[in-house]
Structures are given as C-alpha cells and as structure tokens.
C-alpha cells in the first residue's frame, strides 16, 4: 500500500487508456506519455498495461507501507527516498515506511511512479485510467488527495537493479533548435480550408503552450491561422493528437482526456509516435510542427516499438531469464 502525504491537484492513476467505449462517448484517458509508462512496467516486469501514478504537479510525496520495487519514468525529476537520492529510469528497492518525494522535473512535464505489481484500483470498463469528466476509473474517479491509500498488485521480484535510457536519448532527435520541441504532424481533413499563407504560418510558427492547457488539450499561442471562411461542422470523431482551430484562430491539440467528438476544423494531427513528446512538453514550452506523411508516421511508430522491445530484451537478460536470452540469440 502507498499513502499520499503531499499532492497538489491534477495527479491521477493512469494506465494505457480505456479502449472500446468511444462509441458510448467515453474518451480513452490514459497516460499522456505512454512510452514512459510502458518502459516503467517493463523495468519492473509488470503486466503490459499495469497502472501507475501520473504526476504532473509537484512536490508529490508518498509513503510506502510495504517493501517493494519501484521506478520513476517520464520527466527528469529529482527523487528523494527518505534522504537518499536516486535517478529516474532506474529500478529501486523501497523499504516499508520509507517516503519518496518527487520534485518538478528539469526536463519534461510528467513523471510516472510505477510500482511492483502496478496500482491496484478497480478496472472500470476495462481500464484503471481516471476518467475525470465522467468521474469514474482511477482512484474514485478523481485527482489524488492527501491521505489517499492506494493498493498495489502482485508483481515479480527483481534480482538485480538496472535502468533504461529514456526514449529522448534513443529515438530520433526532432527539435529544430535548442528550446523548441519538434513534433511530426500529418495534414488532416480541413487542411485546404486554410489559405496558403495560414498553412505556411502553421508549420513555421513556434507555438507556445498556453497556461490553459491540461490533459484534455493544449491551447497554443501564436499568430492566428484561420480558414478561408468560418464553418460550422457536424460533430465528428476525435482522437488524441488531432489539431483543431477554433474561431479564435489559435490551435488546440487534443490530448489523452479529449472528448470523443468535436466540431472545429481540423488542420493536422500529431502522429501517434510523437504523442509522448507532446505529453512531456510543459506549459510555456515552444513547439514546432514538422510536416510528415503516412509512411513516415508508420516508420516513426516502428522506432518506438523497437525501443520498447529492446528494453524488454535487456531487462530479461538482467533478470537472468535464460529463456529470453536464448530466444534473443536464436
């Protein structure tokens, strides 16, 4: 069990998301950086879709009531375990009664506190993710609060401690210049409703993530992009990554807690392989969209998948799982 000793609002239980209920209007929710969550579960030997704590406001402090293995992935956070510091993206054994304090990351926006066996909250409609708007899933359908006690599931013992290189160091470097986060995007349905100069501006603006941004969506600040004429569209399906342009002319990128349907013109969509990068972009950061096509989008996803597969194999080697070793070699 884990007891929350300190938390600002907005921290939640998340897994990889709730799929299969969008036809009832239930958005997926799930980790904003699914790659970090998966990596954490791989390091721990947890089940693929185990739930973790997504921490996006700091400082966040918990007490462990039993000994267990943990890892903190995602942003490069400062971690303090009862006076002893340790690094994100590494496995750590925690003793009963120890407290872990997670500080604001120097790089990135969100960190995942992954524990042996995962966070054990009831799966509702097939997922442990918090559905904030619906008020269900996660821990009582809400943000974590001081004094909340979370159960953990059963997970395997770890025989040696090791870490992972974060995806930012293993995957393609996209940032066009220092301090600007590059994200690949594919033109979407209403791209040509925007005049040439607006399209040009869309790709060439360094958009600033406004403070009115959260797990539902990021509002971007910059010079306006507007379609040739105002349109009222019929409601259509929305998936995370879609970039809509409301009448204000300032784009919104829909994120993990997006509604399942929307009505604003769609100029482009961030590719699935780069959603974790956006999930790690904090308020105030500048982002630039890089045009990309379908084949490039698929190739980018392959790179993410192979990063996770490599990690799984290396983890198997460290744990002395000979079967994994022989499979890896043969």
């Amino acid at each position: 069990m884990i007891t929350v000793l300190q938390t600002p609002p907005q921290n939640t239980v998340q897994d990889l998301g709730r799929f299969g209920y969008r036809e009832l209007g239930v958005g997926t929710a799930g980790a904003m950086d699914g790659v970090a969550l998966q990596a954490g579960n791989i390091l721990l030997g947890n089940q693929h879709g185990a739930a973790a704590l997504e921490i996006q406001t700091f400082p966040f402090v918990v007490r462990f009531d039993e000994a267990c293995f943990v890892t903190v992935t995602g942003g490069d956070a400062k971690l303090d375990l009862s006076g002893q510091s340790f690094l994100p993206w590494t496995l750590k054994r925690v003793e009963a009664g120890q407290t872990l304090s997670v500080g604001r990351p120097a790089v990135g926006a969100r960190v995942y506190l992954c524990v042996q066996g995962g966070i054990d909250v009831p799966a509702i409609l097939g997922s442990r993710s918090t559905q904030l708007r619906g008020g269900f899933g996660g821990f009582e359908g809400r943000f974590l609060e001081l004094g909340d006690v979370l159960k953990t599931g059963d997970g395997p013992m770890r025989h040696s401690l090791y870490g992972a290189l974060p995806p930012g160091q293993r995957l393609e470097q996209l940032d066009p210049e220092k301090g600007i986060i590059g994200l690949r995007a594919i033109p979407a349905t209403d791209y040509f409703r925007f005049p040439e100069h607006a399209r040009h501006r869309f790709w060439n603006t360094d958009w600033k993530i406004s403070p009115q941004s959260n797990r539902t969506g990021y509002r971007l600040k910059g010079e306006k992009v507007l379609p040739d004429k105002a349109v009222e569209l019929r409601s259509y399906g929305v998936v995370p990554g879609i970039i809509q342009v409301p009448p204000s002319g300032e784009p919104i990128v829909q994120m993990a807690d997006a509604n399942t349907a929307g009505g604003y013109p769609r100029i482009a969509s961030v590719i699935e392989a780069d959603l974790w990068r956006l999930g790690q972009a904090p308020v105030g950061a500048r982002i630039r969209f890089i045009p990309c096509d379908h084949a490039e989008g698929i190739a980018a996803m392959r790179a993410v998948t192979s990063y996770l597969c490599d990690l799984m194999q290396v983890t198997g080697l460290y744990q002395g799982e000979r079967n994994t070793l022989s499979r890896a070699i043969s």
Binding site: F19, G20, Y21, R22, E23, L24, G25, V26, G27, I124, L125, Q131, R133, G134, F136, G137, I186, P187, A188, T189, D190, Y191, F192, R193, P195, E196, D228, V231, E232, R234, S235, Y236, G237, V238, V239, G241, I242, P247, N259, T260, A261, G262, G263, R266, S269, V270, I271, E272, D293, H294, G297, I298, M301
Partner: protein, 233 residues
C-alpha cells in the same frame, strides 16, 4: 493524404459535394464524411457502414458522428487507399440500416434559470418562447450517435425553425440534464461542465452510469419525445 481528402482551394463548400470525403487523422484513424444534408436517411446509411466496418479485423473502434464515421485501426494500415476504396464501395452498395430503437418520453422543465437561452433561441428564430417550446416538444427525435462525453446523444429531428448556432461564449457550468440546441442538433447534456449549446430546459435523468450493465441510457437509433413538465417564462 487521400485523394479526396479535402476541399481544394476555390472549390466552394464541402456541403455542395456529392461524393463522400475521406481523410486520415494521424496514421491510425480514418474519417468518412457523407455528402449532403443532415437527414435521417443519410444517418441510416452511416449506421449501415458502421455495422460493416465493425466486422473488419483491422478496425479496433468505430466512432459514429453526425453523417460521418471514424475508423480507429488496431494498427496503422500500410495502404489507407485500400480501406478508403472499401468504404466507398460499401457506401454505394449498402442499404439504409433501420434500427427499431426504444421510445423514451422525457418530461422537460422548460425555461427558467436552467433554460436561460430560451430567450436567445426565440429571438434568433423570430418566434415567441411559447412557440419555441411547442416546436421543440412537437417533434420526435432520433439518437444518431453517442459521443463527446459519456452517454451524450446527438439527436436528429429538430425543427429547422428553431435551429440556433452554438454560443460564441460557452456556459461555464451547465448542469447535466440540460435540454439543449446546438445548430441543427438537439441534445440533453450528459455531464455538468462547460457547454457551448443553447439551454432551453432541464430534465432529471441520468444518461450514463459505468456500473450499469449497459452504461449508456440511450443507444443509436433510440427515439425521444419530450413533453412539458413545467414552463417558466
């Protein structure tokens, strides 16, 4: 990009198109938009296409919209054109799908604080508030699609005389159960929160409960009749 993915510059409005429009949203979602007006006949063809799409092995989820649908693939298709061709053929071939649906009769407290945009709707329609109310409960509505938030139904059947554009400044905290009009669409808000549709009344029903066997009260194809429980002008 798909060949017919977007309106080319100077091509006028999409509403005048006679062929469906297809586009990719990222690499894993494909949007199919039917041409023509928002009619029940067109929506029934979307339902038919939805049913056929669910049979496809590469489709993980289908998000039904208003005269459109989105396929969410289990993994990105290597060649989206093949799926696009299949959708176009199926659209041409499939007959309308009629869903019997259940009939819900829902009492509405019209006007008052919880229906504060009734005045605005009447003004926009150049009608009296009484006429707006009577046109609203004089029609039978059909649940075209569920979406946006858990359990919300997009309703077809609104009398065009009281169609009213969404508000430019959304209400910050509209109550769940608010009876609304958004453009040509009618609805009942499913959750309390910000909402850009016009409120004309209120009803006390719970549209969604994840603990129920069937979490959403409404299903696609259900019909709804409103009746006035009270009127507060």
């Amino acid at each position: 990009m798909l060949r017919d993915m977007a309106v080319e510059p100077g091509d006028g409005s999409m509403e005048q198109k006679t062929v469906p429009s297809l586009s990719m949203i990222g690499t894993r979602a494909m949007l199919f938009e039917a041409p023509g007006d928002f009619t029940l006949a067109q929506q029934r063809r979307i339902w038919a296409l939805t049913e056929a799409s669910r049979e496809r092995h590469d489709v993980a989820e289908v998000i039904v919209g208003v005269t459109n649908l989105m396929l969410v693939f289990s993994q990105a298709p290597e060649d989206p054109e093949i799926v696009a061709d299949w959708l176009l053929k199926a659209w041409d071939m499939l007959p309308e799908r009629h869903i019997k649906g259940r009939l819900f009769e829902i009492g509405v407290q019209y006007g008052g604080e919880l229906g504060e945009d009734l005045f605005h709707v009447a003004e926009h329609a150049c009608l009296s508030r009484e006429e707006v109310i009577s046109l609203h409960h004089g029609a039978e509505y059909t649940v075209c699609a569920l979406g946006s938030v858990p359990g919300f139904g997009y309703l077809h059947g609104l009398d065009p005389r009281i169609a009213t554009p969404r508000k430019s400044v959304p209400s910050l905290n509209m109550l769940a159960g608010t009876v609304t009009i958004g453009g040509m669409q009618a609805g009942i808000s499913a959750l309390t929160g910000p909402n850009g549709w016009n409120s004309i009344g209120f009803t006390e029903i719970s549209l969604f409960n994840p603990e129920r066997n069937s979490p959403s009260l409404f299903a696609m194809g259900d019909r709804i009749r409103f009746y006035p429980e009270s009127i507060d002008l």
